[in-house]
Symmetry: C2
Subunit: 384 residues, 2 copies
């Protein structure tokens, strides 16, 4: 096991009818800005529950955070915050709203040009406090310090991280999933699954707890994912998926182990250029990363085949091939496509995406920096 | 899954040579009191590392916290703190030192008679901040809000809990385990194992993540425990046991699931009356609780048999018997005795311990309050 620091101070309120808890969780006398997306929360009752819980607070709102939140939209929210004097952000939404809110929280207190936080890694030393009402389990952003923001003018999609923007609390009520469209549910399951894989499928450092926790999340998502988009979905299924997605990226399974974010990095560029949903890019890329990097990931691929998939590993090579195929089949079982061509993307993607990676300095990805630009090109080509 | 709140703000510094991190983790200008036990830290280099890390702080020390820390000793530390004006506690030790430090932290700020915190559940609304350097992985106390303190005059051993006493940080360096006597290592493995079981072996609420995390800890402790006390123990084994013990009682695996602390409650009384080590009592009692409550715990016993022990469960009754026997054998495999008679305790324990339980209001233990005093008597008798 590698040395690590683990610190996750987000308070979780999990379960039915927990949205009312925000009344107690937000500091008294806070002036709250509710930040949300396209307005679906006005149709599914969540906006109403939040309004009711905020009735003793002074509050306003900012809507219109888009999927893959843009710097441009976030900066509009920052202006509103500065003009109207808000001192607490309540993010009501999924990963995009939360990621956008994190950038807004940091930018509102930033001295200088906030774009530098993303483009130059300028340090975030202060941010407005954030609370979250999660409406879509997927990214884990509700209890971590990461954020990804896009620039609509430059096709950049860039991450930043700071403990300053880690939410103070997050409300996870699985009931909010009832009204989600199937596409969003599928995206969430795939995103959580790939987050787990990217912290698991590297090389062994004999971190038994982290490995088994990751395997537990993978098994749970494989069992519950297909149920989530079927007719007989119930509260239990939603609860298991929601908690899995949070645990998949709250720092715990990645503590003390190598990580490989190749799939996310290539996927970000595909979204930036072609506008695919984030999770759609992951399902296309992950199986090709597994195949391309199978020599370096051999032991973990076998462990995954045996413990998560229950495969017979007498013939190791065929077990690995089966494990990769089964992963792709799992994505398909939740109605997720697994080829770039399924989205009408062709040959020209190879050079375009490779160029984007080069432009962003992503020239040696993976837990052993083995995914050079050449390897990335191969991975993209294999994904067509 | 049941509704739950989960909040664990303890920052973990895990790994080799992490003790030096306390320099950064303790607030500047804090006046620090180092609290420890019988002085073994002076022989194994830990005291020296702590002293070095504290060289820029004003600090003092209080030693002599005993195994099963007593109210009487803790109150001596409180006097010293008040006289000398310390405002930060650094607990350097195992569960007893940390539990004692938590009570000291609360008592130092308590208005009224501190014994009421334990005897009457008086609310703790303020406490001195605590940091921890863990020297013995076992209780999980380094990253939770629980504490158990004994009264040497009245034979009471009583718990309290408050978020106010949750450590701000905990340093977990597996190297500290090198010099621990085998008895303490064994105690730690058994304590962590039983903590996990008490949050797992109840009835199913279809909490798949929590179940699989618990199973991962049980498997890891069963694999690594015997290695820990063998000749070929290495850093990896120590690290896996240490992290398992912390994860076993930091609130995570118990979030949203029923819990059964019967074994701990009966065990506490045995320690109070007969002075057995805490873990010694657990190894004696747990197998009898499993047997006595097997009808109520049937589904989970089968799940444990299959997933953790890999048993064939074609014949369910024999699988359950085997699972209970295998649990007892695991304790024996780490050189832990599993009978009260192994400690020279006889028949009279049945009435004595039952009487203690009655005196402390423990008349309906277990996840379904099914362990009445009569059932507790049977469990104690079966443990002889």
């Amino acid at each position: 096991m590698q040395n690590f620091n683990f610190y996750n101070p987000t308070e979780i309120f999990f379960g039915e009818n927990q949205i009312a808890e925000i009344t107690k969780a937000i500091p008294k006398n806070a002036k709250v800005i509710v930040i949300y997306g396209g307005g679906s929360i006005k149709n599914n009752g969540i906006y109403e529950q939040v309004s009711l819980a905020l009735s003793d607070f002074s509050w306003g709102e900012f809507s219109g955070i888009e999927p893959n939140p843009t710097y441009q939209t976030c900066m509009q929210a920052v202006s509103k915050i500065k003009q109207e004097g808000y001192d607490f952000i309540l993010a009501v939404g999924g990963g995009s709203v939360i990621d956008g809110s994190k950038f807004i929280a940091a930018a509102a207190n930033f001295v200088g040009e906030p774009w530098d936080i993303l483009s130059k890694g300028a340090e975030v030393t202060s941010a407005l406090p954030i609370g979250v009402v999660l409406t879509l389990p997927a990214t884990g952003s509700e209890s971590n310090s990461f954020s990804v923001v896009s620039n609509s003018e430059t096709q950049d999609k860039l991450p930043f991280a700071s403990v300053e923007v880690q939410p103070k609390f997050a409300v996870l009520d699985p009931q909010v999933m009832k009204t989600l469209p199937q596409r969003q549910l599928t995206n969430g399951v795939v995103d959580a699954f790939v987050h787990t894989m990217e912290q698991y499928l590297t090389y062994s450092v004999d971190a038994k707890v982290q490995d088994r926790f990751a395997e537990g999340l993978l098994m749970t998502l494989m069992e519950e994912g297909p149920k989530l988009i079927s007719e007989d979905v119930d509260y239990k299924v939603r609860a298991n998926v929601m908690w899995s997605a949070t645990m998949a990226l709250n720092g715990l399974i990645g503590a003390g182990v190598p990580q490989d974010w190749t799939t996310h990095m290539i996927g970000h560029e595909i979204t930036a250029v072609y506008g695919l949903d984030h999770a759609q890019t992951l399902a296309v890329i992950l199986p090709r990363v597994m195949a391309e990097q199978q020599a370096l990931k051999r032991d973990k691929l076998l462990q995954y085949a045996e413990r998560v998939l229950g495969l017979d590993i007498t013939d190791e090579d065929s077990a690995i091939s089966s494990a990769i195929a089964r992963t792709e089949q799992f994505f398909q079982s939740v109605n997720m496509k697994t080829r770039l061509s399924d989205y009408g993307i062709g040959e020209d993607a190879v050079d375009k995406i490779t160029h984007q990676l080069e432009r962003h300095g992503m020239t040696a990805l993976g837990e052993q920096q083995a995914v050079t630009l050449d390897k990335s090109s191969k991975i993209i080509r294999a994904s067509l």
